[in-house]
């Protein structure tokens, strides 16, 4: 029979007890390997199948024409000698049919043959079915316990299962005991409502999910016939997942069968290739199906496929190189470039050249100071012959006020500096000022975080207390701190163990216990609270067991606190240890995204283990540098800006045009709402007036997000209602286009009597070439080329009114992509 099928009916369930030791054994260098082999190459022991439920997915690899290893599992012919011991599908999926020993051979059309011994024991003795290990995964695989069906909190039509099967004891009670036991009939298993519903014999809202001829159906029927045994706590549990093959260099358009093994607590290994669920972290690069076949497409790069089963995960990494050889590699400037170049070399992606001076000064000034370089600055920079001028300009920006203003804007938003009523103004302004000062004096990041996380007192004395005013409940605090500073999203774990995350409810509540003693009392006004840590032992109650949990960092040791200690200090101690696995990485990834528009991990604050970095080596190099510099934020910005990678041109060289995450060139990014608003003011020489604040206040230095502005809203200014940077929108929209092209606001800025256009029109003695050049330098930091000059002059001459002509020219520059993007 053909075992591979995309329909659920065709899938077999299996349980295999494979006693093979599956050491991670993928050899990357090809040399003395045979022409064809069973994976893993170093394994010589027989494949051992225990019981009739055992299954095993074999993997066959071969040396391809260009001497790289490639998957041959689906292109060989399997034979057994003697026959009648096992059945092998054309896709290499084995099931036992009798006790005995047989030799499995795989023959490729080239004539090469690989062999492996398979032994079957205990074929006739069906073990008792284990509910938690065998039945619950069926519900997960077929979506029965998903959030859209019986897995949601209220269940579905009166029948509830725990979400994704994380509470098998509850599931057992719901199935066996609830509804007066009508769901299961041990005397006549086929008549059980569970099976008649699942197969669609009885009307079922979810339709027919299960084929009566499938292995899963027989398994559930057998479990019912055995009298629905409860899971024995002594039965082995799944403790980890592993892959027979962990990574592979794959040719574009090729495929790879995966083989997934679950290690049980008793040391046994079970093949779960067909029960595990698969997900690609980049479906534009690779796709996968429910039988564990990975198909890569024609895009070069790296992609990870996550396999999950019973709360455990394992990831397969495929790297897909571009065809051909690239010989021309530049020399690295610092260790950022080392890691980037190493990856590009391995993927054969050619790198773009270094950007020119105009692009550099515009790019780095926007990224470090949130503004355009001025006319004078650009002229000076472009005319300077100093070979170190880029580094000097970086230094100048880092010591400018605009640097701290711009980064305070970034932090202010994710630290949720909102103002919902006028009374909160003093606090939100003070917190913003504090952020700006801390960034200006370059407060070490560990201290910066401590000042916020362990903030106590009144806002006017210690402004970071405002964060506790903005984030009022323990859940919010727990989740924000984990996401902001550790890149871990705990939200799901508040209510259930998330299938893609490692965090359990216990992890969540232990972490939340650090905040259990935080109290608030009225300060000078209701909007100005005093935050303090109460006396007592920090404990959080586990929502299911009611157990009082002591605080612990994520994956960290349990912390014993004293009654007179603020547990948050212990939390920060744990977070800021130099070997904390999340703290430094989260920050450097956040900063990387700031400069490159794309995090090494995306989203930038989601560093879970199942979401690997596009370049793990680079992430570690950055984190190490950050830790070694004693958490120096300016040094990190400097380190990134000085790298060749940051200074690459955004122009593609033909081969790297599709590269989206290896940083072989600079990726353009749209100016953020605030920066764009300021930039338009700069170019038009006008000012946007915001309420409350002094007239010259720029949009990037607004202290909180409560300032009404249609412009900022349509261009995606975040509301600061979450700790997620994703709140900031960068999508384009019709409303934006209309705002730029045709709003009263824009028109009045363009046509004002003191606007640049009016001034230029008044300078009758000045040459138009100079004026056009000024416009270009102010807006784009470069002089116009000949073609652009011609177009501009022609336009100026065609218009009778010079002022109108300059307004139109300015309008065109402001609406151009080159202006709207940092590139």
């Amino acid at each position: 029979m053909k075992a591979i099928s995309r329909t659920p009916q065709g899938i077999l369930l299996w349980l295999s007890w494979v006693l093979a030791t599956l050491a991670s054994s993928y050899g990357t260098t090809l040399g003395d390997e045979p022409e064809i082999w069973f994976e893993p190459l170093v394994e010589t022991k027989p494949i051992f199948l225990l019981g009739s439920d055992a299954r095993y997915q074999v993997l066959v690899s071969r040396k391809s024409e260009n001497s790289l290893a490639e998957d041959a599992t689906h292109s060989v012919i399997f034979r057994t000698q003697p026959e009648g011991i096992i059945e092998v599908s054309p896709t290499g999926f084995i099931k036992p049919i009798a006790n005995g020993i047989t030799k499995l051979s795989a023959e490729h059309r080239s004539g090469n043959v690989a062999e492996r011994v398979v032994e079957v024991q205990n074929w006739a003795n069906d073990p008792m079915v284990d509910f938690a290990n065998q039945i619950v995964p069926v519900f997960t695989k077929y979506g029965c316990n998903g959030g859209g069906c019986h897995g949601k909190a209220a269940g579905q039509n009166g029948f509830k299962l725990s979400l994704l099967g994380f509470e098998p004891h509850d599931d057992y009670s719901h199935l066996v005991k609830e509804s007066r036991g009508r769901r299961l009939s041990p005397a006549s298993p086929e008549q059980s409502l569970l099976l008649t519903k699942a197969t669609g014999q009885t009307p079922h809202g979810g339709g027919a999910r299960l084929d009566p001829n499938s292995h899963e159906y027989r398994l559930i029927r057998r479990w019912i016939a055995q009298g629905m045994p409860r899971s024995d706590a002594a039965n082995p549990q799944v403790v980890s997942l592993s892959l027979v093959l962990n990574d592979r260099r794959m040719q574009p358009g090729s495929q790879q069968q995966l083989s997934v093994q679950a290690r049980l607590s008793n040391g046994m290994i079970e093949d779960v290739t067909r029960t595990a669920q698969y997900e690609s972290n980049d479906t534009e690069m690779a796709e996968t199906d429910e039988t564990g076949i990975v198909r890569v497409k024609n895009q070069a790069g790296e992609v990870a496929i996550m396999a999950r089963y019973q709360g455990q995960v394992a990831a397969f990494r495929a790297s897909v190189p571009l065809a051909g050889e690239v010989s021309d590699w530049p020399s690295p400037t610092n260790s950022v470039d080392d890691a980037v170049l190493k990856q590009l070399r391995s993927l054969n992606i050619p790198i773009s050249g270094v950007c020119d001076d105009p692009s550099f000064i515009r790019r780095v000034t926007l990224d470090l100071a949130g503004r355009l370089p001025t006319f004078e600055e650009t002229r000076l920079f472009l005319s300077s012959t100093n070979t170190d001028k880029r580094n000097q300009w970086i230094e100048q920006l880092l010591s400018s006020n605009e640097y701290s203003e711009y980064f305070a804007n970034k932090w202010m938003v994710i630290l949720r500096n909102r103002r919902t009523n006028p009374g909160q103004q003093a606090g939100s302004f003070a917190f913003h000022q504090w952020l700006q000062d801390a960034l200006a004096e370059n407060k070490p990041y560990d201290q910066f975080v401590r000042d916020i996380v362990a903030a106590s007192g009144a806002i006017d004395v210690h402004p970071p207390v405002a964060w506790y005013r903005n984030v009022t409940d323990t859940f919010g605090r727990t989740e924000d701190i984990a996401q902001l500073f550790l890149g871990q999203r705990l939200q799901c774990a508040r209510c259930h163990h998330h299938p893609f995350e490692k965090w359990s409810q216990e992890d969540y509540y232990r972490f939340s216990a650090f905040f259990a003693l935080v109290r608030s009392k009225d300060g000078s006004t209701v909007d100005d609270p005093m935050i303090y840590s109460d006396f007592g032992l920090a404990r959080a109650s586990h929502p299911r067991t009611g157990q009082g949990l002591e605080p612990a960092g994520l994956n960290g040791p349990v912390v014993s606190t004293h009654e007179y200690e603020d547990p948050r200090e212990s939390l920060v101690d744990w977070m800021t240890q130099t070997d904390n696995p999340y703290f430094a990485k989260t920050l450097v990834n956040r900063y990387w995204k700031h400069f490159f528009g794309r995090g090494l991990v995306e989203p930038e604050d989601d560093l879970r283990s199942t979401n690997p970095a596009s370049n793990p080596e680079l992430l570690s190099a950055l984190a190490n540098h950050f830790v070694e510099s004693k958490f120096d934020l300016k040094e990190l910005a400097r380190f990134i800006c000085q790298s060749r990678t940051y200074q690459l041109s955004s122009e593609a060289n033909g081969l790297n045009v599709h590269d989206r995450k290896c940083f072989s060139r600079f990726y353009p990014k749209r100016l953020s709402a605030e920066v764009l608003s300021d930039a338009i003011d700069t170019v038009t020489q006008s000012a946007t007036q915001f309420e409350i604040v002094p007239a010259s206040t720029r949009a990037v230095s607004l202290p909180d997000t409560a300032f009404a502005s249609y412009f900022l809203t349509v261009f995606g200014r975040p509301e600061a209602s979450t700790a997620c940077e994703c709140e900031r929108g960068s999508d384009s929209s019709l409303a934006q286009s209309l705002q730029l092209a045709n709003s009263k606001e824009m028109q009045s800025k363009l046509a004002g009597d003191t606007a640049r256009a009016a001034r230029m029109a008044a300078q009758v003695e000045r040459a138009s070439s100079e004026q056009v050049e000024e416009l270009y330098i102010v807006a784009l930091s470069r002089a116009p080329n000949e073609e652009e000059k011609t177009a501009a002059f022609q336009y100026l001459e065609s218009q009778p009114d010079r002022r109108i002509a300059y307004e139109d020219l300015t309008w065109a520059l402001l609406n151009s992509k080159e202006f709207l993007f940092n590139h």
Partner: protein, 449 residues
């Protein structure tokens, strides 16, 4: 085949054949085609790609209309509960509604009445009626999106120059009653387009002639040479597309035309009425009959969801005067809307929902008013391909609670999503924390779909 046409001409619907097939086959028949099997098959195939898009008109009766004085009259109850109105028959045998809706009574075959809406919070806002959720749900990350915002996110615009979600409600002094539907955690990009804000202003030229705008565009094209393929995120390409649309909006202005009733036949306007004089408005919205007509025009222009707020039904006093006034006006506009949609062959694609945030107390108070009653409420649905001519659920003799088939607010919302072709059992939105969120947690009303 012939029997199908006969069925159609006799205005009867056989249960075995979906209503939509009728309309499409019927449309061809009136187009003087010879109908053959191929045509019927084509009509069948068309069913999945309807000519007019699926859409929703949300008519919010702010304040909470008295369920027992609209669709669920309690003529058997004692007078202090029964109130002043008598029931009238409708064109569906056995369904009776209040006497202030004589025109609507002729369209009851196209409507479904739900007499047992439950799950209402006793709170004066439109959020539940527009989203199915309360203000508190997911508040810390922006709140749940309304139906219109979710549809905007899932489906995007039909026509590039027309926003997918438009809110017509004019600001009322109790602002929660003029809510057009929050985008919630989906963010400003999916907020309803309100024809009174800067969004509309930007669609009209200001101090710049169309000719000058064209000049500017030509200049921009000659100067804007940056290649958009260097940006693989798609934002640059999107920006170019939106810039082109912006010019289209400014030159063709389909949306502006849709909002402009001077372009409508005066006879049609008269059929809808103007809802004036506005009475009992206080801190609520006016009875803008014209908004229902504008809603139809917007849907025709390509809008997917139109929300509007009709009157102020918070009848703590003079309940019967309020219902006579507001109800009479609603009767006129709503029946005209249903007729128009049916006549244009759009009724199966356009869902209309008419409801408020709660019901009203069974007992008439001494001001001849009815007070808040969130135990049970009512809704009227029409169009969208639902099976009309039905009453779902019932209240007890005094109209105090749902005695049969309670229908949760979210079931109504799920039905609207269903009518839009969105499967609530599988469709999720990603919230800012990265979690997938279902649109609602209830299923569509089985009896209607």
């Amino acid at each position: 085949m012939i029997s199908i046409l006969e069925n159609l001409s006799s205005k009867g619907f056989c249960d075995a054949i979906p209503r939509r097939s009728f309309l499409q086959i019927g449309g061809m028949a009136f187009g003087a085609h010879q109908i053959g099997l191929a045509d019927v098959l084509r009509a069948d195939a068309k069913q999945t790609h309807p000519k007019s898009h699926k859409s929703v008109i949300q008519i919010f009766l702010a304040g909470g209309p008295p369920h027992q004085d609209l669709w669920d009259l309690k003529s058997e109850a004692p007078s202090e509960i029964r109130g002043e109105f008598n029931p009238i028959a409708t064109n569906v045998a056995g369904i009776q509604i209040c006497e202030v809706f004589p025109k609507l009574a002729w369209h009851m075959d196209k409507c479904a009445i739900i007499r047992s809406v439950v799950g209402c919070k006793d709170r004066h806002d439109a959020i539940q009626c527009l989203s199915g959720w309360t203000k508190e749900d997911m508040r810390t990350i922006g709140g749940r999106p309304s139906l219109g915002a979710a549809v905007s996110r899932i489906r995007g615009p039909v026509n590039p120059s027309v926003p997918p979600f438009v809110g017509l409600a004019e600001k009322s002094s109790h602002i929660e009653w003029s809510d057009s539907g929050t985008p919630g955690y989906l963010g400003a990009a999916h907020a309803p387009f309100r024809p009174d804000g800067p969004g509309l202003e930007n669609m009209k030229l200001h101090g710049v002639s169309l000719e000058r705008l064209q000049n500017r565009k030509h200049l921009l094209v000659s100067l804007d040479k940056m290649r958009r393929d260097i940006d693989t995120s798609g934002i640059m390409a999107g920006m170019d597309a939106n810039n082109a649309r912006a010019l289209e909006v400014l030159t063709s202005s389909k949306l502006i035309d849709a909002l402009d009733l001077s372009k409508e036949d005066p006879k049609t306007i008269a059929r809808y009425g103007d809802g004036k004089p506005y009475q009992f408005q206080f801190d609520g919205t006016a009875t803008r009959n014209d908004h229902l007509l504008v809603a139809r025009r917007l849907i025709e222009a390509g809008v997917r969801v139109v929300s509007l707020s009709f009157g102020r039904w918070d009848s703590h006093s003079k309940n019967f005067d309020v219902v006579r006034d507001h109800g009479g006006k609603l009767d006129q506009a709503l029946s005209a809307l249903i007729e128009d949609l049916a006549q244009r062959g759009m009724l199966d694609d356009v869902s209309i929902v008419v409801w408020g945030e709660m019901g009203r107390s069974p007992k008439v108070n001494k001001e001849a008013g009815r007070d808040h009653w969130s135990q049970v409420s009512c809704a009227l649905l029409a169009g969208g391909g639902i099976r009309g001519g039905q009453v779902i659920g019932a209240t007890n003799r005094l109209g105090e609670f749902a005695s049969e088939r309670p229908v949760h607010v979210q079931e109504v919302m799920a039905t609207l999503y269903h009518n839009l072709g969105i499967d609530v059992a599988t469709t999720t939105l990603t919230d800012p924390t990265g979690r997938p969120q279902y649109l609602v947690e209830h299923e569509p009303i089985r009896e209607l779909i």
